[in-house]
């Protein structure tokens, strides 16, 4: 039963649309596939809400934290002179100088270790990985050193560090550049893990990460960097932070709870509208924002109302974020479920390069809507 859900029929996948994926094929360097970002920030509306691209929200968060706390510095490959492989650190070198925005030799384990050491010595480093795919070279430093030192030192040695960079699959960059690490880091005691979707998420969570005394992994999404989102007046202020472990209800509904994160939040919202149109059902969409700690309370509260749960994520199915959401729901809200909970995930294959196959490997809006309908038997 479960297996059949994991190995989704190809016909369903083929029918799915992938509007957010750039149709163009990238060259080897992921950065090269990016459209040039020219002034993504839009004019303010009368209400004070501005459209800001995720990339600019992250840039703003870094600039504000570098400005307000001299212990903060940014280190990574291409972050300074080149303004970041994805231009997230644009302008920071000019503004804060080469002692605080530092280009690194190409040694993930080395610069991750260096920033961990700086954090152990009392600084608040932001360690940028060009993508989290490359952070595997440094995972010993993240897990064995950053996450465990506070505990193993008997609580005397905090490690205030932020690991950030793009995570998850991108467009046409194949298996070694297309993996979602949410469940990897989410399983480690001592780490906090966040996955922003909107620009407000990106700014609020990154600022909170830099300020948090624990090591935090910020899993951004490459495909969202150029996407503009409305940003409230409050979120534009330099004191805007989002709490960890608190999910956000992006769309209220009474029939089905969709728990999701990162880019899948946008897909779930589109799917929810489609379900309303096609089947007349109201899905509630919960944006997790934080993977660890996870807001179980928000999930349980919603399931009590809807009686149905669907987890949507783009990681591999086995031992994934979806598996965790389903298990937690079973543990804390089993009696409120009217049907077995389901998960929609990436396919259990290394991400293929061919665009048609790549499209079939990840959840689509249409797939989410159809599985929602199936779950609700409508």
């Amino acid at each position: 039963m479960v297996t059949s859900r994991l190995l989704r029929p190809a016909s369903r996948l083929l029918a799915a649309s992938r509007p957010l994926i750039a149709p163009t094929r990238s060259v080897l360097q992921p950065a090269a596939s990016l459209p040039a970002i020219v002034n993504r920030r839009r004019y303010a509306t009368p209400s004070g809400v501005k459209e800001v691209a995720v990339r600019d929200a992250l840039n703003e968060a870094l600039a504000e934290e570098l400005e307000s706390n001299e212990k903060v510095f940014v280190l990574g490959e291409e972050v300074a002179q080149y303004n970041g492989a994805y231009k997230v650190t644009k302008g920071l070198l000019d503004r804060f100088g080469e002692k605080r925005v530092i280009d690194s030799p190409i040694t993930e384990s080395g610069f991750a270790g260096l920033t961990v050491g700086a954090a152990l010595a009392g600084l608040h480093p932001v360690c940028e990985f060009m993508t989290f795919n490359f952070a595997m070279q440094a995972i010993d430093q993240i897990i064995n050193s950053a996450a465990k030192t506070h505990y193993m030192s008997g609580g005397i040695q905090p490690c205030n560090i932020t690991f950030r960079g793009p995570n998850g699959f991108a467009s046409g960059v194949a298996a070694q550049h297309s993996q979602d690490y949410s469940s990897w880091y989410g399983s480690i005691p001592g780490l906090k893990v966040v996955a922003p979707w909107s620009s407000e998420d990106a700014k609020g969570l990154l600022k909170a990460a830099i300020r948090d005394p624990n090591p935090v992994v910020v899993l951004e999404n490459e495909l969202l960097y150029g996407t503009p989102f409305p940003m409230s007046e409050a979120a534009q202020r330099d004191d805007f932070v989002l709490p960890f472990g608190k999910a956000k209800i992006e769309r209220a509904g009474k029939d089905l709870t969709i728990v999701t994160l990162s880019r899948c939040v946008g897909q779930a919202l589109t799917a929810a509208e489609q379900m309303k149109k096609d089947y007349g059902v109201e899905a509630e969409v919960i944006n997790l924002r934080s993977v660890k700690p996870m807001d179980v309370e928000a999930i349980v509260k919603s399931v009590k109302k809807t009686g149905h749960l669907m987890a949507v994520e783009s990681g591999f199915p086995s031992f994934g974020v979806g598996a965790e959401i389903l298990a937690l729901t079973m543990e804390y809200a089993f009696d409120y479920l009217d049907a077995p909970a389901v998960r929609i995930t990436g396919a259990e294959v290394p991400t293929p390069y061919a665009q048609g196959l790549e499209n079939m490997s990840f959840p689509s809006e249409d797939l989410i809507a159809k599985y929602g309908a199936k779950l609700l038997r409508v």
Binding site: N144, M152, S153, G245
Partner: protein, 418 residues
């Protein structure tokens, strides 16, 4: 016209005559040569880097040795006493482990002078990162035998609250980072800490210890390259003790040891006799001076010998000869330093007897006290995972407490339920 032509001609001749002698490369000027000659490798005639020493294998002064940092009576006796304490801790703690009092231990035999000689040249403002065979450094900085015993027993007074294996000491007051098990991860950490010192404009360095085996890890190469490119004030101290568990140095590298790698990374490097405490002290003092004043890394390779087993889980007689071990044990670093004290009339047989007797009593007392102390309380299982305790750990802690109180015996008797 003719004059003009001549002028042109002569100018051209000058240009042609000026030999292009170097390549203006983005990484710096590279001189050209007409000789086809390779550097290094099996056919190289370059001799290995020499090893700096101030006393010979018996402990007698070497004529003409440069000793810019003299060691006076007080410093010498303190260094000697620390080395003696290290020897006695090693012997008694090793036996305690063999009796099953704790799970694991590692000794420093053969490398006492490397640890204590280098530690004596550092200040408490310097941040120290060690591998696992440098208790001598901690003891020099003021970590007590009692603190070591508490940690090894993993009791409630031990650093780390019983969460780490024995010998993973650490101390915030002594600016000594908690020891981490994976090899070589401390090297990039030290570079980061040194970079922090640089940003904060502190007149101090980071000192980091590692073995020649750890220098084969990628982290070593990453760390030295980072330290060099970032201009981080860090002193790398390699204890080349000949053996990485059962792997001899000959299988660990083919070049000129560890110090030989330094210059190619742009790092000032020195090879020193690790069994000569005065040489190690002088090399470290110089390295520290250069690192702090020039804000750059320095690499020290201390040539010594691991006279003991790798750890209590190892039996080194299975892979090395008794003859080799005996030869090295005859160059005992502690005896060599004692000779220096005796030659200066700073030490006598009575002092020696009293020191060792008192230390032995202190070590036994410390172990006895540590054994009596209860283990870390049950709550410590859940604290410090994060700076603040998250709800799910609070929930689990409450459940564990309630269960242990309701069912006496569910929790081991030496672990207090609180």
């Amino acid at each position: 016209m003719a004059a003009c032509y001549n002028q042109l001609f002569s100018t051209n001749t000058t240009v042609t005559a000026k030999v292009e002698d170097s390549m203006d490369f983005p990484g710096g000027k590279v001189p050209f040569t007409q000789q086809l000659k390779m550097i290094g490798g099996p056919e190289s005639s370059t001799p290995p880097m020499s090893c700096y020493r101030t006393v010979d294998s018996t402990g007698a002064d070497v004529a003409g040795a440069e000793v810019p940092h003299q060691i006076g009576r007080d410093l010498a006796t303190k260094m000697y006493s620390t080395m003696a304490a290290l020897q006695i801790v090693d012997t008694v703690f090793y036996e305690a482990q063999r009796q099953g009092r704790f799970s694991f231990f590692m000794t420093s035999a053969g490398e006492e002078a490397t640890a204590v000689g280098s530690a004596a040249a550092l200040t408490l403002d310097d941040t120290v990162f060690t591998q696992y065979r440098e208790h001598g450094v901690m003891m020099w900085r003021g970590y007590t035998i009692q603190q070591m015993a508490h940690q090894c027993y993993g009791n409630q007074l031990g650093h780390g609250k019983g969460r780490q294996m024995p010998i993973h000491y650490g101390s915030k007051e002594l600016n000594f980072q908690t020891i981490s098990s994976p090899l070589a991860t401390q090297l990039p950490h030290a570079v980061g800490a040194a970079y922090a010192l640089k940003l904060e404009r502190k007149h101090a360095c980071a000192a980091v210890y590692f073995g020649e085996g750890a220098a084969s890890e990628g982290d070593f190469h990453a760390a030295v390259n980072f330290a060099s490119t970032l201009g981080a004030p860090v002193v790398f101290i390699c204890r080349n003790n000949g053996w990485a568990i059962s792997t001899p140095s000959t299988e660990q590298y083919r070049g000129d040891g560890i110090a030989g790698r330094g210059p190619s990374y742009g790092i000032a490097s020195i090879r020193v006799d690790g069994g000569d405490a005065r040489a190690v002290y002088n090399a470290t003092a110089e390295a520290r001076r250069i690192a702090v004043t020039s804000s750059c890394p320095v690499l020290i390779e201390a040539m010594s010998y691991r006279s003991g087993h790798h750890s209590t889980s190892d039996d080194s007689s299975r892979y090395r000869t008794a003859d080799e071990m005996n030869r090295w044990r005859a160059r005992d670093p502690v005896m060599r330093f004692q000779s220096l004290l005796l030659a200066n009339n700073w030490w006598d047989a009575q002092q020696e007897k009293d020191l060792r007797l008192n230390l032995r009593k202190e070590v036994l007392k410390a172990l006895e006290a540590a054994q009596k102390e209860p283990k870390a309380p049950l709550a410590d299982l859940f604290t410090d995972v994060y700076k603040e305790m998250p709800w799910h750990l609070k929930e689990q802690m409450a459940q564990a407490m309630a269960h242990s109180k309701a069912h006496p015996g569910a929790c081991p008797s030496d672990i207090p339920v609180r």
